[in-house]
């Protein structure tokens, strides 16, 4: 019997901090097993052996912020059978989507002495704004357990088991006492699970790095924040961070008049 060819994996980078693709290298216990199960065909951060597409699975990190990248993602999609975005940048535009609420020309002048050397788009947009995406993995950064689950599911030809509920369920599971009832504003009730509710276990409120859960009630949450004494500015800033361009968080941030 001849062995089936291993699925070909590619990892792509757009505007990002590299943390989500590092998550793959951070799977220290599973890395060599993963490398045995797939052919790492294109992963420049880890290997200088780069082979041409097509690829069975593309993991895409980062958001689209340049005209060149808007073209490049079309080519990546064409070369990829299954495309998974990894992380808040690729899934929601990332922290760099704060430019979407500002004048990018002014941003360029604030950072660079020679604005004429810088070419960038006025917005930072998720991959799904440009091409069809087969699966989106949330998080800033992604959870490596979820990454391994997605890789295993794809190798096994099954649907990945990724929960869509809120961080609250994860706090209950690990017996973390609710920080909101102790007076600390928390984005957990509106935030997609996946991190394991880390922040409340460190006695601070969730800051929403996994983005909105399915159908979040952000208005009710913002009202609870007001009752805890949060200012409108604080509410706007909280919804406007690593997932500021995700629709539910964007709309809630715009509802507070700033």
């Amino acid at each position: 019997m001849t062995a089936r060819p291993r699925p070909r994996l590619a990892v792509w980078k757009f505007a990002s901090c590299d943390g989500c693709q590092l998550s793959l290298l951070d799977c220290e216990d599973e890395l060599l097993a993963v490398a045995g199960a797939v052919e790492i065909a294109n992963f420049p951060e880890a290997s200088s052996a780069i082979s041409d597409g097509p690829y069975d699975l593309s993991l895409v990190e980062g958001s689209v912020t340049t005209a060149h990248d808007a073209e490049r993602i079309l080519e990546v999609r064409k070369q990829s059978k299954f495309l998974v975005t990894i992380g808040a940048c690729a899934t929601a535009g990332g922290i760099q989507a704060l430019r979407n609420f500002a004048d990018v020309g002014e941003f360029i002048s604030a950072v660079y002495a020679r604005p004429d050397y810088i070419k960038t788009l006025a917005t930072s947009t998720p991959i799904s704004a440009h091409v069809p995406v087969d699966l989106e993995l949330r998080g800033c950064p992604i959870d490596k357990g979820q990454l391994i689950e997605v890789l295993s599911a794809i190798l096994a030809g099954r649907k990945p088991n990724i929960a869509a509920y809120s961080v609250c369920i994860e706090c209950k599971r690990r017996n973390t006492v609710c920080v909101m009832v102790q007076g600390t504003p928390c984005l957990g009730p509106a935030t997609h699970a996946g991190c394991g509710a880390i922040c409340p276990s460190f006695r601070r409120g969730c800051y929403g790095c996994f983005g909105p859960m399915e159908t979040p009630n952000t208005a009710a949450l913002a009202h609870e924040w007001e009752l805890l004494g949060a200012s409108p500015q604080e509410i706007v800033r909280s919804f406007r961070s690593f997932n500021c361009a995700a629709e539910a968080f964007r709309k809630e941030s715009e509802a507070h008049g700033i």
Binding site: C17, E28, A46, A110
Partner: protein, 429 residues
Amino acid sequence: MASKTIKVDYLARVEGEGALDLEFTDGRVTSARLKIFEPPRFFEAFLRGRSYTELPDIVARICGICPIAYQMGSVHAAEQAFGVSVDGQLRALRRLIYCGEWISSHTLHVAMLHAPDFLGFPDAIQMARDHGDLVRNALTLKKAGNELMRVLGGREIHPVSVKAGGFHRVPTRAELAPMTETLKRARDIAVELVRWTAGLPFPNFEQDYEFVALRHRDEYPLNEGRLVSNRGINIEIADYDSEFEERHVEHSTALHSVVKQRGAYQVGPLARYALNSDRLPQHIQGLAAEAGLGPVCRNPFKSIIVRAVETAYACEEALRIIGEYEPPAAAAVAFTPREGTGFGCTEAPRGICWHRYEFEADGTIRRARIVPPTSQNQPCIESDLAAVAGGMVDRPDDEIRHRCEQAIRNYDPCISCSTHFLKLSIRRS
């Protein structure tokens, strides 16, 4: 005159996006430019109007490989501006989480990104076929660093515990205790890694660098110190602008930093080691000597040995801190923000990472400036490339290309940090 072009469109095994242009005229290198085209993300612009409370979480996102470096620089700056002093066990815990980042980041580079260059493999996974124990041990070492960050910060990438004044929560002794065995094993692996790197084949190449690093009264530098160089710089971190300046060059979305009086300088392991090797414990100095390092190493290809030495040191230092740990009464020092300017400068794995912030009275950020290590090393990398390529103009293009890529990786460039990725083209005319 023969003319020729060599291209490397996407430099691999670096973090971020860049390219290289080499031009030869009459058998001489006339231009060596490291082009950085990582798309800018404008952190310094969107930090304006954010609160100091959000600062460590936001700046962590500049770099997924060294988030602690950014968090530390930012909280030190806020504390300086607000007149807060963090010492005792809280200070020790900051050093401990930073040791975790050094172990993890250095091991990633030494074993997985840089070592394959010396042995002719495209990556660590292929290398594992012939050097299985080495790669597996390195993964164990890297994992120890990550575990340390996870215990103290909840996760290894963008940990959540660091804040101005201290931490959101500090560990119990019982939470840290299991790290002792893990770190002892990690230290033994790191010591073996030093010996292994010392046996790699190194090109005979030295440059007379200006090294810049922090220097502390009695520690090998991580979080604090004065900015010093081997050519006489010895200043407070707040006086950075008196000796250094950033220039914006057309081929890069990273700003180039230079010493105003002299030009290119180097930060990172070689610089730290050259300026602080006397601050390493005796037996770590002995380990470095056994690996063939003098008190100063000017061969950038040997930075792999220095990284391994620093990894062994970080394991030891972590063990020392854990051994002496008593949980502090409070996880953070209480303070009230005030209007002011603060500076932070710490030793990221790749070298000094400098921050300056102006705050409003309520702690809102009015202005932010961050100078990451790779943008400081960029002119130095270009100077190495010119020298490396200049010494091998008659060699085949593939050989020049390979050696130049290796010369870039000597710096463990983190291009995402400096904003910024690599494409190599060589033009001969």
